[in-house]
Symmetry: none
Subunit: 194 residues, 4 copies
């Protein structure tokens, strides 16, 4: 880990951008695991130290790059119909998980399993802000009586988003827009026979 002082006053923005771009490009071409910090530095025309000065690990670089340039926006639609809004947003996520670029995201989450620092930054940078957006939207829906009043919203979020992550990370089946329909159907109407 770096022992640098890293005063952001002196940060070179050109290099910063070049590193994020190079990291994403190399991961797209050969995967996160086969992308070395050396290679990112070389591709970005940057010294390796410059990477270690500003990020604690390769994974941290990619979390930032994914957050800025790859992952779906944390903004949540609001048309008044929570079911429709959830469907729209989840379909975006499902399509992102299906797309080639999501494999970097997948690998970064993989790396987080062995490195608490990476897990933190994944959670805080990639997951939390997007959960936040969803929670706000659900809060309003609950106020408007579109969902049960007695639920804990984070439980709801997990219930409907977790199946997408499950497929992404366990690779059981691809995530599809149809899956989103199924999830929302089951989640809203329940499993109990009527």
């Amino acid at each position: 880990m770096s022992t640098e002082s890293a005063n952001p006053r002196y940060r070179n923005e050109r290099s910063h951008k070049a590193i994020l771009d190079a990291a994403l490009k190399l991961c797209r071409e050969q995967g996160f695991a086969k992308t070395s910090v050396d290679a990112i530095a070389k591709e970005a025309g940057v010294g390796k130290q410059t990477i270690y000065r500003w990020w604690p690990s390769k994974a941290a670089v990619l979390v930032e790059a994914i957050d800025r340039q790859s992952a779906p926006s944390p903004d949540f639609p609001d048309t008044g119909d929570v079911l429709a809004d959830l469907r729209d947003q989840m379909v975006i996520v499902a399509r992102y998980f299906q797309a080639a670029q999501s494999s970097t995201y997948r690998e970064v989450i993989g790396a987080a399993q062995s490195d608490p620092a990476t897990a933190q930054v994944v959670l805080n940078t990639l997951v939390r802000p997007r959960v936040e957006g969803c929670r706000n939207r659900l809060e309003q829906a609950r106020r408007q009586g579109q969902i049960r009043a007695d639920v804990v919203l984070d439980d709801v979020i997990e219930l409907i988003y977790a199946p997408l992550y499950y497929r992404l990370l366990l690779g059981t089946r691809p995530t599809t827009p149809e899956q989103v329909e199924v999830i929302l159907n089951l989640a809203f109407d329940g499993l109990r026979p009527r």
Copy 2:
């Protein structure tokens, strides 16, 4: 990858067991990522070649070890009450995910994100057999009218197990028996206000 012929006729069972034990022990002590094949071989008192002869990677060793000695059994209880049986089994899973030993499982799933071969073996050895047990139990429940007739069972399985994996792999909150209650409540009764 090994190019050995690996005739199981010559397989030394003492070494086989020693390798699985050593692998689990070292992962418990220092994590999967910091456990090298060299170290497993040394700990098991075995040549490195012996490991590569029978498994394609460190992860594959641990998949087998976890399946045999660590993960919850694929057998599913059947008391006639599907909700109670699900709860019982899911609580076992939740407790396993909370326990220290699950971190090896977690890291192996992490490693699978960057290695399709590992992903395959995780899916086939660890996930599928346990999903199978659950699917059989749900099938009977559906026949008995305890859950809706129109659901696809794998979708149901994902709906209720995915939140446990979500917490395990994203680290949002610990998995607890209480979470199991919440999940089953939401999943069976639905989010829609009555």
Copy 3:
């Protein structure tokens, strides 16, 4: 190498002194090889650029520092007895070579083996002026008939001083006042049996 104009008019004497002191101090504490320019700059409370502005290399800094503050004076005693004067001066050198501080001198000569610029500055700053003093003294001695008339003085200087450097740089034996006696005895009387 610096491309600065480095007009000495603007030279900050406080910094100049601080750099020489810091360099010597760090070399004393941890050796020349482990002393980095960064460390000298930090120790001296000076920017790195300030060092590179006035010296072409770390070695050059230390040559100046040694010349000013560490090495024996280039002045040569003259009592009329050349043998006694040589002995006195050589004993000073021998003692200096034995002292801890000489290890910086030793390492600088070592660095000069790989860098012609350093070799030049060592020769011109540290060696030549001291050889000069010795040559003048020998010249007078020869005029007074205290040594053979047909010798080339630089050959004599090498003959008697080289053994001290030999021990210093090859580390065969420590340089001692006794060694000085032996050298002068052999050099003046010759090896041939009488």
Copy 4:
């Protein structure tokens, strides 16, 4: 430094030879200081670890290479005339010091100034065996009355060889066959006027 066990039983002689050759070649081409261990490994078609397994440093590799393939033999001629034998052997040394290949030797001695381990290996491998040969020859000469009976032989060796090293390492003048004549003349006949 290596923590390997380095059991010579398993040493690959082809690699051993390739490393020594590559090291000498690169030092000849670009100097010892600019020759990196990486470069030697690449040139030799060898992993870097294989170098660190058998030698503690780049300098140690070159000491062995120089001893085997570059430096004058430790064998000392014996024609019965010690002065002639010394002259012959010293001329070989003087010529070696003048030749381009000696610059590697020079730089290795330079590196030894900053690293006691290298100093040891230079002394034991390169210097001592050659001094030994000379001492034996001088011993015989003394027995035969060709040199004074009261001298310590190592002092004599230093007296006559040190000037060659002095010129080599301080770079005052090139070492030449003529210098050898001068040294022997001064050393045998002494500085005192007759």
